[in-house]
């Protein structure tokens, strides 16, 4: 199994509070991604990184920010959580373009 660890695995937070999710990899892969998965939808890309300090927006980036200060860590921050951000969040990594992505186990976030 690819070395990807997401933390926390579960979190309940209140509307309006900031939340940070962490993805840690031990594979030294260049590319890292944050997705959200909701019933009836496919996995949707939030943000991705193509190197240290190199990030870009995905299709559902509003309300989210990311940072990557080290190759192994990719942080996803919800500045002010809303109920619409209740979801399961997955981190993924890949080592090259066109290469298969490996996914973490997911973080279930509930915003009440």
């Amino acid at each position: 199994d690819a070395g990807i660890t997401q933390s926390p695995r579960h979190k309940v937070t209140e509307t309006g509070t900031p939340v940070t999710l962490r993805c840690h990899q031990t594979e030294n892969h260049r590319y890292m991604y944050w997705y959200r998965q909701d019933p009836g939808h496919g996995l949707r890309l939030i943000h991705y990184s193509y190197g240290v300090k190199d990030t870009d927006k995905g299709e559902v980036s509003d309300g989210y920010s990311v940072s990557r200060s080290k190759t192994e860590d990719f942080l996803l921050t919800l500045e002010s959580a809303t109920s619409s951000q209740t979801s399961v969040y997955f981190c993924a990594i890949s080592d090259a373009q066109g290469a298969k992505a490996f996914f973490g186990q997911g973080t279930r976030l509930t915003v009440v």
């Binding site: 990807i4 590319y31 991604y33 997705y35 009836g40 939808h41 496919g42 996995l43 949707r44 890309l45 991705y48 193509y50 190197g51 190199d54 870009d56 997955f90 993924a92 373009q97 066109g98 298969k100 992505a101 490996f102 996914f103 973490g104 186990q105 997911g106």
Partner: protein
């Protein structure tokens, strides 16, 4: 608009009853098509990558095929342990940093009963 559509949404099979899952796509500049398996409460697990029409890949009871408009995941003589959600994703190119956008379908939930 680029789209990936999987059908059926859900499929119930008896053990040993072969069937196929469909993934149709409308993207420009296909770079690759990926199949993943996802078990409840877990992240997607990679199964196959297909790059060009006519290509086929096999793994145990699974066989993936690709045409210019769709891909099929054929399941031969399935067992209960094949029960999972199967996700299809297509990759198109042209993003910053050489990023190739990956677009996922909503998945097919497969249940195989003894």
């Amino acid at each position: 608009e680029d789209q990936v559509t999987q059908s059926p949404e859900a499929l119930r099979l008896q053990e040993g009853e072969s069937s196929s899952l469909n993934c149709s796509y409308t993207v420009s500049g296909l770079r690759g098509l990926f199949w993943y398996r996802q078990d409840p409460g877990k992240g997607p697990e990679f199964l196959f990558t297909l790059y060009s029409a006519g290509e086929e890949k096999e793994k145990e009871r699974l066989k993936a095929t690709l045409t210019k408009k769709e891909s099929f995941l054929h399941i031969t003589a399935p067992k209960p342990e094949d029960s999972a959600t199967y996700l299809c994703a297509v990759q198109e190119g042209g993003g910053p940093g050489g990023y190739n956008k990956l677009i996922f379908g909503a998945g097919t939930r497969l249940a195989v009963h003894p």
